[in-house]
């Protein structure tokens, strides 16, 4: 079943994972998109504020996106996202971490400009196996309403 706007009432949506992140993928992403020494080299990482080799924050965002896709966006009538209200990197992502994703629906409202769709604002929380919060994001996506929902409301 495809998920529509109606499937996202405010509240806790669910938990997904774990997803293992390997050293190899951390190095590969950093080499292509964020070749700062703290993301490429143990020695440079240990001298950095993050005190050890850590993944690029954009890598963590991209992995979070994939986890959201595998969890629910892949079966949601999503039309895309206008952006991210706020994203906080709270602790470093390390090689071998097993990530879990928690999703909360903060707000769900019908679009005024496009009444066959709604805007669902999610809070996504990524934690490592120790339960440490690594990343927190608040972001809206545009989701289609169930067929006929707009007409019902007008009627």
């Amino acid at each position: 079943m495809t998920l529509t706007f109606e499937d996202f009432p405010p509240g806790h949506f669910g938990t997904f994972g774990p997803r293992r992140v390997t050293r190899e993928e951390i190095l590969a992403f950093a080499a292509e998109f964020d070749p700062q020494p703290m993301h490429l080299d143990e020695e440079a990482g240990s001298k950095s504020m993050l005190k050890g080799l850590s993944a690029s924050g954009w890598h963590l965002c991209s992995i979070m996106m994939r986890m959201m896709f595998d969890f629910y966006i892949g079966r949601t009538a999503s039309l895309g996202s206008p952006g991210v209200n706020e994203l906080r990197w709270l602790a470093p992502l390390r090689p071998g971490d097993d990530l879990t994703l928690d999703i909360e629906v903060m707000e769900a409202r019908v679009s005024r400009s496009r009444p066959t769709t709604g805007i669902v604002t999610f809070k996504a929380l990524v934690r490592n196996a120790a339960g440490q919060l690594l990343c927190e994001m608040v972001s809206p996506i545009i989701v289609e309403r169930r067929a006929g929902a707009a007409a019902e409301q007008v009627g």
Partner: protein, 160 residues
Amino acid sequence: MRFFEDIEVGQRRELGPFTFTADSIKRFAAQFDPQRFHLDEEEGRKSLFAGLAASGWHVGSVCMKLMVADGQRLAREAAARGEKVAVWGPSPGFRELRWIKPVLAGDTIRFSSEVESVRTSDSRPEWGIVQARNTGTNQRGELVFSFLATAFVPRRSAGA
């Protein structure tokens, strides 16, 4: 890279262009964001994006790539002048990220970064905190991407 003391509100850096090919869009999407409009031209045309569109996380990651390259350029220039090179710290996050218009296959995006605020850190006296508005503009001059980034920047007087 520059030290905190060298950075002023309003300073702007042109980070350079990047062309998003269909192949690079699909390769990133297959790994991180396999929504149909990021993977297939026809699905992209049928979507709100009206074409094969790059994942927003791909656009953000490319902006990071160009920011790092710009920092490395500044570091090389400082080293060539015999100056001490600043090593920037990590970022605690960002706000107000907007994917304003789709980035479609073949688009060339020019990224830039403009400093919006600077302040010292109370908890970490060897660091300053810089906020910069990073943006991307396509080949038609349309603003397509924007976010307000925060980073820890080392102070020249570190440890003083």
